[in-house]
Each structure stands twice: as structure tokens, then as C-alpha cells.
């Protein structure tokens, strides 16, 4: 597989399913989700609260909290299945090859430990041979990269502002030079100005460090400014994937369409806010057929009976220069893998 390494995505999630049992049944949080992330690309995973995107993010590093369990699928990092690895090997990946940034920076940092101590611990875990001075120097370097003054190392988490804490947390994740950053709602707890700074930061990191980013969020605005491609998730299933341009300007799935048009636009002359009727489905007993059909304005008979498959829309011409057009094994020019716009909807053929 080495010749096509440049096309092979750095992270490939195949048919992942995650469930967790509760007193009244089993919640099927994620069902047969598939995603690809290429080297150096930013993929935005969007969806409403409770759609399973955070759970999916956690599963990459096998951090799903019991009783939640990954029930099926593969997660391939550089071709190796993370789900098949031994616990030790996964632990070595964490924080080093793949790293995560979480939503709430105050509670994500141990309040009892000074910042420098937390850095030293992380570095020491992955490189026990590193000396204290060297480790501190690395910490300072990465903090400066992220715009945090080195003097903050001597402080406690609660002494920092929210935005700074988020940067510190990011720094802790980046100090070991990972390939992939999975950011789960990184700015939800921050105000918009800080968020703007964070977005710039993410873009800069992607450029300078060739960092691949999986950005999990419900914030479409942020996604628009960061992501190359977007994946839309609903009720535990991936329902649409495509380049950011395509998804924003030509959304295929009615849900995606609804999502995008729900965001208030100051340039439009809107009198009423657009909303989507209904509420997210019960994940213990999801609706039969397409999970969105109870809320879909275009629901057809087949939508109620059968689940559509995830595929390029019927009759769509493959985008020029994409891997599909050129054939799966030919070394197409550095086009990101699967730049094809795909959707799971009967309106577009449903993969039939």
C-alpha cells in the first residue's frame, strides 16, 4: 500500500458502531459511521447536540466511557486498526500521535496541579528519558507558539482566563508533535472574540505543522472558516460528506439544508428565524428507514421503510480531478481522498 500512501487517508473510520446500555434499553449512539481524514486536512464533523459526534470523537482514542462500547467497525490510523490494538499501544498513541482538545478548559485541567507540572508529566510519560530542563523548554516553546506567555507555567489553572486555558490545553496536546488533533467543541465555552482568535490559531497550526484536524462542533460558522471538508451527522449516522464549498452551497440532504438555513444571516432580510420542526429521535428505538423521515419535508414512502445507503448522489458527475474520476488506484494528483460529495438520502438515489 506504500505507493498510494499519499492518497491513503491518515485516519479512516469504517462502519463504526457504538452503543451503551441503560436501564431501559440500549442507546445506539453511533451506527455504521464511516469517515476519512487526509494528511494535513481539516474535516468538520457537524450535527446537533446528542447526535453522537462527541462519542465518535472519543472512540478514536478508545476513550468511550463504559458502559458505552464500540460494537463494530475499524479505525485505521496509517492503516493499522486502533480497535484491534492492545491497550498499551493505544496509550502510546494518545497525546503523541493523535491528540484531543476538549470543550470545557476549566474542568479539563487538573485544578490541583500547576501548569508546568502537567506538561512535565505528559512529556515524561511519552519520553521518560527527557530531562526536566529540556522538557520545560519544549513546553515553553509550544506555549509561545500558541501565544501564551511562558510565565504561566508557574500558575494554577484557575488563575488563567478561559481563552488562555484553552490554549494551554491545546499546547498540552501538541507538545509531543502529533499528526492528528481531534477538537471536540473547543470554543463552546468561550466568547466569540476568543473564538475568532482560536480559529486563526487552528488555521495557523494546520499550515505550519501540517496538522490534520477533526473539528467536532455544532458551530457552522467556525466550521466554515476552518474545514476543508464537512461531514454531517444525524442521530448517530453520517448522512452527508463533501467539500466545505459543496456542502454549504449545494447541500444535498434535507437536514443539511435545514441546518445551514437555520443560521441567521445578517445580509438576508429575514423576518422570522428559520427552524426545523420536530426533535432528535430516540436513539434506543430509532425510526425505521431513514432516521430523519419524521422531520423531513420531502419524506417519501421508501424513506419510511428502508434506510438509504451512503453514496454519491445519483447522476452526479464526479468532480474533476477526484480519485473516483481517475480510478481508485492511480496516483491522482494530491487530491484529498474521497473529495466526492456523498449523501445518504433517497432523494438522491439512496445508493441504490
Amino acid at each position: 500500500m506504500t505507493e498510494t500512501a499519499s492518497i491513503e487517508p491518515i485516519l479512516r473510520i469504517q462502519d463504526l458502531s457504538i452503543a451503551y446500555p441503560i436501564a431501559i434499553g440500549t442507546v445506539r449512539a453511533v451506527e455504521k459511521a464511516s469517515l476519512e481524514l487526509s494528511d494535513g486536512e481539516a474535516l468538520g464533523l457537524v450535527g446537533e447536540s446528542g447526535c453522537g459526534k462527541s462519542t465518535l470523537g472519543l472512540s478514536i482514542l478508545r476513550l468511550v466511557r463504559p458502559p458505552g462500547r464500540i460494537t463494530a467497525g475499524r479505525i485505521l490510523y496509517h492503516g493499522r486498526d486502533i480497535l484491534a490494538m492492545k491497550e498499551n499501544e493505544v496509550r502510546r498513541l494518545r497525546g503523541r500521535a493523535i491528540t484531543m482538545a476538549f470543550q470545557n478548559p476549566l474542568t479539563s485541567l487538573n485544578p490541583l496541579y500547576r501548569i508546568d507540572r502537567q506538561f512535565l508529566e505528559t512529556i515524561h510519560v511519552h519520553e521518560p528519558a527527557a530531562g526536566r530542563a529540556e522538557a520545560l523548554a519544549r513546553a515553553q516553546r509550544v506555549l509561545s507558539e500558541l501565544g501564551v506567555e511562558p510565565r504561566r507555567l508557574a500558575e494554577y489553572p484557575h488563575q488563567l482566563s478561559g481563552g488562555m486555558r484553552q490554549r494551554v490545553m491545546l499546547a498540552l496536546g501538541l507538545v509531543m508533535d502529533p499528526d492528528i488533533l481531534v477538537a471536540d467543541e473547543p470554543t463552546t465555552a468561550l466568547d466569540v472574540i476568543v473564538e475568532a482568535g482560536f480559529i486563526d490559531l487552528l488555521n495557523r497550526l494546520r499550515r505550519d505543522l501540517n496538522l490534520s484536524i477533526l473539528l467536532i462542533t455544532h458551530n457552522l460558522g467556525m466550521v466554515a472558516q476552518v474545514a476543508d471538508r464537512i461531514a454531517v451527522m444525524y442521530a448517530g449516522k453520517i448522512i452527508e460528506v463533501g467539500s466545505a464549498q459543496e456542502v454549504f452551497h449545494h447541500p444535498l440532504h434535507p437536514y443539511t439544508h435545514g441546518l445551514i438555513h437555520c443560521v441567521p444571516n445578517i445580509r438576508l432580510d429575514q423576518e422570522k428565524l428559520a427552524t426545523m420542526g420536530g426533535s432528535p429521535p430516540d436513539l434506543v428505538e430509532p425510526p425505521r428507514g431513514c432516521r430523519f423521515h419524521p422531520r423531513c419535508p420531502h419524506a417519501m414512502d421508501i424513506c419510511r421503510r428502508e434506510e438509504p445507503r451512503f453514496a454519491p448522489p445519483r447522476g452526479a458527475a464526479p468532480l474533476a480531478g477526484s480519485a473516483v474520476a481517475a480510478g481508485p488506484t492511480s496516483p491522482a494528483a494530491a487530491a484529498p481522498a474521497a473529495a466526492v460529495h456523498r449523501v445518504a438520502c433517497w432523494l438522491h438515489g439512496g445508493g441504490a
Binding site: 472519543l58 482514542l61 476513550l63 466511557r65 496509550r91 502510546r92 498513541l93 494518545r94 497525546g95 503523541r96 491528540t99 484531543m100 476538549f102 470543550q103 470545557n104 474542568t107 479539563s108 485541567l109 487538573n110 485544578p111 490541583l112 496541579y113 508529566e121 505528559t122 510519560v125 511519552h126 494554577y156 484557575h158 488563575q159 490545553m169 498540552l172 496536546g173
Partner: protein, 338 residues
């Protein structure tokens, strides 16, 4: 550090009213008894005149408010009064016996923590498995076992049946206390005097009684540590630490436990009161020459000033420990003082 000092001062000032209430309570309780303490003391048939004279002597004829103020005044000067039975100041036997009780209580507390906290943390990390339930069962049962019965059973098994450990007193027959008597804390004294054989003897005598206290009271710590650990293990920073590749054992004992420990520490302060109570019962069981036995002895003799003195000292220590715990809390958790 300045913050810490300010917090400490506030906390100390707060202790005073509580201590005052306790002392008042002691005063009230010790004067509610039906009948007349003096005639009881002199045997029911002493002539009226003698009774009155004795009462005058002891100041029991003065109005209750005056007695109360005297009481507070004496305490402020650290004067616990004189024994009604023996010709001695109350403080004398008290100071003699205090180290014995303190030593027992402290070693007992150490055992409680050594048993309770690790078991609680382990149970939390192995949640809902057989080991978790086993540990919890142990904790519950231990708590329901009266401390004096635990003492008796330990005596039975280790002292009588197995004949391994001594079951009474602080020292054995071949050890002479005056050879090392210093602070009254025999573990310390024997070490200071360099008498290793005596140290071993003292330690062995201390083992069963403090273990009794330790096991019975560990139940609370197991439960509390487990509960706090479960909460802490769900915390975001624990997830974040795991996400950085920190090994599970370090996450549990290094990150989670330190945070979970704080409420456990507070419980320690509260449990100290229970430890003191348990110490009294343990002293009875093991013929331990401490304040508990002194209290019971003087109750039997109706030596009210001494009874009062002992209880006052208990109240004082309880307040002191509570204060100390709060200060240590501030030391560990930086959020409290900044």
C-alpha cells in the same frame, strides 16, 4: 502565603464560639443530675451541717450564673479545678493519661486511613465488579460491628487462641516505663531512649487496640473515598489526562485520588470525634490507661470536677482537630486561598 494566613485567622476566630457552646453544654449537662452530688458523695446519711459545709467549700451554693462565670473564668486560665475525691488537681491524672489516649487515637487514625482509602480507591476503579462489592460489604459490616466487640474478638483470636499478641495495657511485665518515660508517647519515648526491645513491646501492645479502631472506622472511609473517586473519575480532567496517554494507574492514584482526597480529609476531622469515642470503649476493653478509663473510673466515683475536666479536654481536642483539618484543606486546595 498571605492568603493562607488570613484564612487561618478567620477560621480560628470561628472556632471560638463553637468551643464556647460546647463548654456551656458540658456545664449544663453536668448539673442536670437529679439529687445532690454532695450527699451522694458523702454517703446518704451525713448530717445536714456537713453537707452544707462541703457544698460551701465546693462553691455549689452560689447562684448558677456565678458558678458558670467561675467555670468559664477558670477554663480561660486553663484551671480545671480540683478533684472532689482525691487530693489532687484535676489536671494531674489528666495530663498523665492524655498521651496514652492520643497515641492510641493517632495510630488508630493512621490504620483507618491506611485501610480505608486505598480500598475505597481500588473499589472505585473496579466499579461494579465482584471486588468492588466485596470491599463495600466489608466496609458496611465493619462499620456495624461495635468497636468493643471487635476488640474482644481480636483479643480472643490473636491473644487467647493464637497467643500472638498482648491484650492488655501499654507495656509488658518486663518493661519498666521509668527507663524511657519522656513525652508520654511510648512509641516516641522508647525510640528516643534507644531501647529497641521496649519499642517492640510497646508497639505490640499498641497493635491490637489501634487495629480495632482502624478496622471499625475504615468502613466510612472506604465508602467516602469510593464515592468521591467515582465522581472524580468522571471528571473532565481525568478524561483529558487519559487522552494524553497517561497510564491508568497514574490517572487513578495521581490525579483522581488527590482530588477525591479533599472531602475525605474533611471527613477525617469529623471522624476524629468518632475515634475519640471509640478510644474510650477500646481503652475499657484493652485495659488501656488512658483518659477514657479515667473518665469511667471517676464516673463511678462521682468525682464531678474530674469528669467535667475530661470532657472539656475532649471538646477542646475535637475543635482543634476540626480547625487543623480546615487549614490542611486550604493548604492542599489552592482554590480555597487564592
Amino acid at each position: 502565603m498571605k492568603n493562607l494566613l488570613r484564612y487561618a485567622l478567620t477560621r480560628i476566630l470561628l472556632t471560638i464560639p463553637m468551643l464556647w457552646i460546647l463548654l456551656t453544654l458540658v456545664f449544663v449537662v453536668l448539673r442536670i443530675m437529679p439529687g445532690d452530688p454532695v450527699s451522694a458523695m458523702l454517703g446518704g446519711h451525713a448530717p445536714e451541717r456537713v453537707i452544707e459545709q462541703k457544698k460551701e467549700e465546693l462553691g455549689l451554693n452560689r447562684p448558677i450564673l456565678a458558678q458558670y462565670l467561675d467555670y468559664l473564668g477558670d477554663l480561660a486560665r486553663l484551671d480545671l479545678g480540683n478533684s472532689m475525691i482525691y487530693n489532687q488537681k484535676v489536671s494531674q491524672p489528666l495530663l498523665e493519661k492524655l498521651p496514652a489516649t492520643l497515641e492510641l487515637t493517632m495510630v488508630g487514625m493512621a490504620f483507618t486511613m491506611l485501610i480505608g482509602i486505598p480500598l475505597g480507591a481500588y473499589a472505585a476503579s473496579r466499579r461494579r465488579t465482584g471486588r468492588d462489592f466485596g470491599i463495600r460489604l466489608f466496609g458496611n459490616v465493619a462499620y456495624c460491628i461495635p468497636v468493643f466487640w471487635m476488640g474482644l474478638m481480636l483479643q480472643l483470636v490473636f491473644g487467647i487462641w493464637l497467643d500472638l499478641l498482648p491484650i492488655a495495657g501499654r507495656t509488658g511485665p518486663r518493661v519498666f516505663v521509668k527507663d524511657f518515660q519522656n513525652t508520654g508517647f511510648y512509641l516516641l519515648d522508647t525510640l528516643l531512649a534507644g531501647q529497641w526491645a521496649s519499642f517492640a513491646d510497646v508497639a505490640l501492645h499498641l497493635l491490637l487496640p489501634s487495629l480495632t479502631l482502624g478496622i471499625v472506622l475504615s468502613g466510612i472511609f472506604i465508602r467516602l473515598t469510593r464515592a468521591n473517586m467515582l465522581d472524580t473519575l468522571k471528571a473532565d480532567y481525568v478524561l483529558a489526562a487519559r487522552a494524553r496517554g497517561i497510564p491508568e494507574r497514574r490517572v487513578v492514584y495521581g490525579h483522581a485520588l488527590k482530588n477525591a482526597f479533599i472531602p475525605v480529609l474533611t471527613m477525617l476531622g469529623l471522624q476524629f470525634a468518632a475515634l475519640l469515642a471509640g478510644a474510650i470503649l477500646t481503652e475499657t476493653t484493652f485495659s488501656w490507661p488512658g483518659m477514657g478509663r479515667l473518665l469511667l473510673e471517676r464516673i463511678y466515683l462521682r468525682d464531678y470536677p474530674t469528669i467535667q475536666g475530661v470532657i472539656v479536654v475532649f471538646a477542646f481536642f475535637v475543635s482543634l482537630v476540626s480547625l487543623a483539618v480546615d487549614l490542611i484543606y486550604a493548604l492542599i486546595d489552592p482554590r480555597v486561598r487564592y
